[in-house]
Amino acid sequence: MIAKIVCYALQGLEGVPVEVETDVSRGIPSYEMVGLPDAAVKESRERVRSAIKNSGFAFPMGKITINFAPADRKKEGASFDLAVAVSLLKAGEQLVGADTQGTVFLGELALDGAVRPVTGLLPVLISARAHGYTRFVVPAGNAKEAAFLRGAQIYPVSTLAETVRFLLGAEAITPLAPETFVPHMHAGQGADLKFVKGQPVARRALEVAVAGGHNLLLMGPPGTGKTMLARCIPTVMPDLTFAEALEITKIHSVAGTLGEEGIISERPFRTPHHTATTVAMCGGGNRVVHPGEISLAHGGVLFLDELPEYKRSTLEALRQPLEDGRITVSRAGGSVTYPARFMLCASMNPCPCGNYGSADKVCTCSPAEIRRYRRKISGPLLDRIDLQVEVDNVPYDALASDAEQESSERVRERVNMARAIQSVRFEGLPQRTNAEMGERELTAFCRLSGEGERILRDAFERMKLSARARSRILKVSRTIADLAASEEILPAHVYEAVSYRLGDSLE
C-alpha cells in the first residue's frame, strides 16, 4: 500500500512542501530512502524504526521504499521524522480510517517515540498556510512559536503514540489558541537614556538616527559610555508591529535562537565580537545556509564595538546589505536571501591610545598611527554611516549628580511622531524610513531651498564629500526636519546634518 504524507522543508526563510511517499510491498525485507535526502534525513530511518517499535507499534515487514518528492531537491534536517513515521504506519495499515489528508506533519523523533521540537517552524507554518494548508501537527515544544499563526488548527503532540491516537480519533487534542502579540515595552536589558549622564550632542544624534533609521558612529575616548548609549537605541525605537515581529521571528527560528517566548517581541540588539568572521556576520555554512548577525539584527540594531578592530574584509562585506537591506548568500547547495535591514551603530576610539582630542589627557599616538588606525575603516563604509558624532568625556560632577536625564520613553514619543510623518510620506511605497530613500524619493521629498542648496554645495566642496555622503546628508536633514515637524527642510536642518559628518572633517 502507498501512503502520502505532507511535510515541509526549509529553504532560507521559505517553506517548500515535501511529500513523503511510502510503499510497502512484498519481497525481501529492505528499507530504502530516495529523493535526495541528506545525512540527517537518512538517519531518520533508524530513529523512526526505533520510535515506532518503542511506541508499541509494529514496524512494517517487506520491501519498504520511502520517496521524498519533489525528488530533485535536496532535503535537509530532522524535521521529516514525524511525517516518515506516520506514512510508514499508514502504509503498514496501522492507521486505517485516520484522516491525514491536508495535514502537515512536522517534528523530530526520539528513539523512545517522543516528538522533539525543530528549528525554523514558524517560517514553514507561514509558508504552508499561504499554500492553503490549515491543519498542522507540530511538536509540543514548538507550541509557543506556532501559536502566533492565525487561521489554522495547530495540534501540538509530544509523542508518536499520542499522534496516532489523535489521528485515529481515540484522543482529542485541543488546537492551540491563537496567541496575541504584545510588544515588549522594556527592551534593552534595563538600559534607559535617563541613566546616561551628560552627552547632549550624542543623545541628540541618537534620537535623529533612530527617528530616520540612520546609521550611527560614536567616537570617543575609552570608558565614556559609548556602549551604554548604544544599548539605549532599542529603547527609543518604535514598538515592533506583529508583521515585523513575525518576520524577525522567522529569521531567529531558522537560526535556532528563538527563546522561551516563541516570538521575538523586542527589537534585536546584536553585538558580534570583533573576531567574528565574514560568514558569522553575513550568513553561510556548508549545507544549510544559516542567517548571519546582520540578519539576526534585522529590524533592530547591529552594534559593532571598537569598529577598527574588525577584520577589514568583514566590514567591507557589510556595504552591500547596508544599501539593499538584505543579503544573498550563495553556496554550492543553492543561494538564499535573508532580510538584513538593521540600524548599524558602531563605536570607536579616536586614535589607538584613545586620547586624541581629549582636553585633559595627552595623546601619545603619532599622526601616522592615527591615520593608520582610521584607515582601517574604508571611506565607502564611513560614507554609509549617516551620523558620526563624538562622545564627551563626562566630568566627574556630571557623573556624580543625581539629576535624571530625559528618559527613553520621552525620546521615543518624539521618534514615533517623526516615524508617523514618514509613514504618511511613504504611503504605498516600499520604504518605511528616510534612510531607505532612493534617488527618486530624494528628489521628491528632499527639495532644498536656494540657501539650503548653497550650504550643501559649500559643505560638499569644503569637506570633499562623495556623492553618497551628499545624499546621506540630505536624508538626515529630512529626518531633522521631521523631528521639528517641518514640511520644508530649513537651512538650520542642513547645517545640523552637516555637523554630523565628523569623519570627513577629521581627514
Binding site: V201, Y356, S358, S366, D392, N393, A492
Partner: protein, 359 residues
C-alpha cells in the same frame, strides 16, 4: 635641458659626492660664498673627490666632466634641476647665511626661488585651532609670498594645505628629492613638485638622517624673510628653525598659546624673547608694508553672532555650554556652529568642543 656653466657643474658634482663629510661640505660652502675662481674649485674637487674610493689622486678634468654628466643626466631624467652658489638664480637670502648649501636640488616651478619667501613651521602635533589658523595664514600669505615649509605632519601640513592650492609653496626636504620621506607623503610630494617647488640640499638617493632635519631647518630659515612658528614645545625641533632665523637676522613670529599648554610653551617663550606676536596674516603683512586684501565679513544670523561672541569670550568651549550661553537647544547650536565652521570662523577642537578662529 638646463644649461650649466662649468663652475655650476663642478658644484653639483661636489654636492652630489655622497662621501663628502659635513665639515668639508660646510668649509667648502663658506669658501664658495666668498667667491671662488674655477681653477680653485677644480683643485678642491680633486682634493675631496677621490675616485675609485681608494684614495688615488686623479686631477683629470675629463673625469670630472664625465662624472658631472652622469649626475646631471640622472637629474634630468627625474626633472630635477640644481641651483648652485655659482648660479645667478641662487636665492640671495640663503647666500647670506654662514653656511649656505653648495647646491639646491629642486623640482617644480623655478620662479618661486626668486619670489619673496616666508616660512611657516610648527610641531608635528598641534592643537586644532593652531592648525586651522596656520592654514588660513598660509592661504592669505600665498598671494604675496612663496610659503616655505617642510613636508611633515602638523605645522608643515597646515602650511602646505593653505598654500598649495595657489602653488605658492616651497617644501624643503631633509633627504634626496627622489626619496619618499615620510613614505605616506609620497603623493603629496609629487603634487607639490607639480604645483609648487620641492627643494633639498641633498643629492638624489640620500636618505634622511637625524642631523639632516637640523641642517634642513637652517635652509627653511635661510630662504625666508621671516618665520612664523604655529606651535612648538619647550624642546621642539621647530625652535631650531626659529633660532636659526634669529641668528640670520630674520623676523620671527609666533602664535600665542595658553599659558599652561605644553604644545605652545616654545611659542610663548619666543614671544617673551621678543618674537612678534601673531594672530592673523595681517600681523605679518603689516610688517612688510603690505595691506590685507579686503574680505567682506561673512553674514551671520543672530544666533551665530551670539554663539561666536560666547566662543570668543571663552576661547574654547563645548557645544552644549555654548548652547546654554546663547539660550538655545544643543542641536540648534550644533547647526549654527556647523554654519560658522563652513564660514571659516570656528574650528572643531575635538570632543564636541569648538574654538574661535581669526577675528
Amino acid at each position: 635641458m638646463t644649461a650649466y656653466s662649468a663652475e655650476e657643474r663642478l658644484l653639483v658634482l661636489l654636492a652630489a659626492a655622497a662621501d663628502l663629510d659635513e665639515r668639508a661640505r660646510s668649509a667648502l660652502s663658506r669658501a664658495c660664498a666668498r667667491g671662488l675662481a674655477r681653477g680653485e674649485l677644480e683643485k678642491i674637487c680633486a682634493a675631496v673627490i677621490q675616485t675609485d674610493g681608494n684614495g688615488v689622486y686623479k686631477g683629470d678634468r675629463a673625469d670630472f666632466s664625465a662624472a658631472a654628466d652622469a649626475v646631471l643626466g640622472r637629474m634630468e631624467r627625474l626633472n630635477v634641476f640644481a641651483v648652485t652658489l655659482a648660479s645667478a638664480g641662487y636665492p640671495e637670502a640663503l647666500r647670506a647665511i654662514p653656511d649656505p648649501p653648495l647646491a639646491l636640488f629642486c623640482a617644480g616651478r623655478r620662479e618661486l626661488l626668486a619670489a619673496r619667501k616666508f616660512c611657516i613651521v610648527g610641531s608635528r602635533i598641534l592643537p586644532a585651532w593652531a592648525e586651522k589658523t596656520g592654514r588660513h595664514i598660509a592661504a592669505e600669505l600665498a598671494g604675496r609670498f612663496a610659503v616655505v615649509t617642510g613636508i611633515a605632519e602638523g605645522g608643515d601640513r597646515a602650511a602646505i594645505d593653505g598654500a598649495l592650492p595657489t602653488g605658492s609653496l616651497i617644501s624643503v626636504l631633509p633627504c634626496g628629492l627622489d626619496v619618499d620621506y615620510p613614505a605616506s607623503h609620497a603623493s603629496l610630494k609629487r603634487e607639490i613638485a607639480k604645483k609648487g617647488l620641492i627643494v633639498s640640499e641633498y643629492p638624489l638617493g640620500t636618505r634622511a638622517q637625524k642631523f639632516s632635519f637640523h641642517a634642513r631647518n637652517r635652509i627653511l630659515a635661510g630662504l625666508s624673510e621671516g618665520v612664523l612658528v604655529l606651535a612648538a614645545g619647550e624642546w621642539s625641533g621647530t625652535l631650531i628653525t626659529a633660532n636659526a632665523a634669529l641668528s640670520y637676522g630674520r623676523d620671527v613670529f609666533a602664535l600665542p598659546h595658553n599659558a599652561g599648554a605644553a604644545q605652545g610653551a616654545g611659542c610663548n617663550s619666543l614671544i617673551k624673547q621678543g618674537a612678534y606676536l601673531c594672530t592673523d596674516a595681517g600681523d605679518i603683512l603689516q610688517m612688510y608694508g603690505m595691506d590685507r586684501a579686503q574680505t567682506s565679513a561673512p553674514e551671520l544670523t543672530a544666533e551665530e553672532e551670539k554663539l561666536l561672541a560666547a566662543l570668543r569670550l571663552r576661547g574654547e568651549e563645548h557645544a552644549a555650554a555654548l548652547a546654554a550661553a546663547a539660550g538655545i537647544p544643543v542641536w540648534e547650536a550644533q547647526a549654527a556652529l556647523a554654519a560658522l565652521e563652513l564660514k571659516g570662523l570656528v574650528a572643531r577642537a575635538g570632543g564636541n568642543k569648538y574654538t574661535a578662529l581669526r577675528l
